[in-house]
Symmetry: C2
Subunit: 167 residues, 2 copies
């Protein structure tokens, strides 16, 4: 893999920010969002989301699994993958392919197609709204006759802090 394993320190934004009640807000919306999709926010699923929200960074599936197992849920990979896939499916989490990791979505429910910025030095991660990116993609897709259902937009580079250090 990269220098980037699910890494134990992939914060969600480069700038410090208070997120005292991010989690509460999101969980409330989550319930609604799940119901809207005709899906159920079961205990494993809910707890998985909480874990991602608490961590507030990208986590590997196996890292999430450890936490779940420790709390009495199943101990096998499918437990984590199913819960994570569910969350991604209904838009409560995102999969960061470059990191083989997952992260809670910070703006669930809002129609958004985020872009992710990943620092190659410190592995920190930032999620940014990217309506313009999506629009450009749609336009390119149209020329091909392609119907977009889901997108993964990830940029690798240097975060402000690491760029500062003159690497």
């Amino acid at each position: 893999m990269n220098s980037a394993q699910p890494p134990a320190g992939t914060a969600l934004a480069f700038a410090r920010h208070d997120h005292a009640n991010c989690a509460d807000e999101v969980l409330t919306r989550a319930e609604a969002l799940a119901k809207a999709n005709g899906a159920r926010l079961t205990p494993v699923r809910r707890r998985t989301l909480e874990i991602l929200l608490e961590a507030h960074r990208a986590m590997g599936a196996y890292e999430v699994l450890e936490r779940l197992a420790a709390e009495g849920f199943g101990k096998q990979p499918p437990v984590a993958y199913r819960a994570l896939d569910f969350l991604v499916e209904i838009g409560l989490a995102h999969r960061i392919r470059r990191l083989n990791a997952f992260t809670a979505c910070m703006h669930p429910g809002e129609a958004h197609s985020p872009a992710f910025f990943i620092c190659r030095k410190c592995d920190h991660l930032a999620e940014a709204p990217a309506a313009a990116v999506r629009a450009a993609l749609e336009s390119a897709a149209e020329k091909l006759g392609f119907t977009i259902e889901r997108t993964n937009v990830e940029a690798l580079g240097l975060c402000p802090a690491c760029a500062e250090e003159r690497t």
Copy 2:
């Protein structure tokens, strides 16, 4: 994994197109491009590129490795991964993370940051130039103070043919 294993049928474009001399052109450029980077297009590396060009679709690293091994090169994963990583590094190939696969770049040398469109039904893959997408990304990055070095833009959905079939 996905329904998408390195898959044995991931063509490069949805529309039929003749690419009789794609390969030759690209290989010629490759030499030059390598030299420009102070890098060497060694036999394994060159052959790896040829394999990707011949296949003209996305190939998993192990699939490439099989081919290399059959031709007398090393039989262990690092052989393929090193060659593929090299090609990606200097812009002769792209890594499609959603498919865990690699594909030869069709426009090496040209400053471009491609977007990939992957059909979830047939796994076919299209590479499209996406200057507008890149511009939008740069703009978002600037707001974060982030310096982009490399991007992965992948869209999942339905290709024209599969969309037709009313899935």
